[in-house]
Symmetry: C2
Subunit: 121 residues, 2 copies
DNA sequence: CCATTATTTCAATGATCATTGAGATATTGA
DNA sequence: TCAATATCTCAATGATCATTGAAATAATGG
């Protein structure tokens, strides 16, 4: 997904708060199945109203999405937005000097386990 | 460079401000040679005191570095920190599900020009 | 339908941060 | 050294934001 400056600012702003940054990382690691609001709140040490406030903030910024499942609301990371954010920040970094940005690409994730699979590491 | 949560928060906070986000992107694109404080300020439309304030903020966060060259102070992007930030945010994203994070890696930059060179796109 | 679980909304409070303009500091060429 | 250029410092102002706890809403199982 292509981000413009205003949305990129919203996303960085959303990520610049301890509770929200933890939430995003927990959801990135949880994968597409996601976690309930309560589970996310507990994982990051937030009150229920605090968790709700920050999850709503992250969803407004486009970093996560929600779906209802019975009594729970399940949140999951929006990988598209994360991808778009990295693209926005590193735009034209390579141009002319690939040796500079190459480490950034390699670092973009890639756990040891992932390197052994189809991950483009 | 490996980032811990407190520094990652500082970095995201620094990037969540219009003038500073523009400054970082200008410096990412400028490459290691960097730009003078005045040139950066002009590129992003900031006053001289405003440019100084925001550049100092970015340097404190570890996103840029400075060196004096005659009358000017030259700022350049700290690619290490940018790499570390992406690593921190996407940590363990791949684990078990490389197909999810692969797009994020591919997106991590890679201009059309870069794809034709040694860039690991 | 009722009690329970899960989550959200709301308003008040305190804390943090960008902006502005004037002045201070640093460096150089003449 | 003097004048000009480049950048930084500082304090005051206004705006934005997280936190808190109580109450409201939603959905389910019995």
């Amino acid at each position: 997904m292509k981000l413009e400056e205003p949305q990129a600012l919203d996303v960085f702003s959303a990520l610049s708060q301890e509770t929200r940054l933890r939430m995003v990382r927990v959801l990135v690691q949880a994968g597409p199945e996601g976690l309930s609001a309560g589970a996310v709140g507990e994982a990051v040490g937030a009150s229920s109203s605090g968790a709700s406030f920050h999850l709503a903030h992250l969803e407004r910024a486009g970093l996560i999405q929600s779906r209802r499942e019975s009594r729970s609301i399940i949140y999951s990371a929006s990988y598209d937005t994360l991808t778009g954010l990295i693209e926005f920040l590193m735009a034209d970094c390579c141009s002319g000097r690939p040796e500079i940005c190459a480490p950034a690409i390699a670092a973009a994730n890639c756990s040891p386990a992932a390197k052994e699979t189809s991950c483009a590491c």
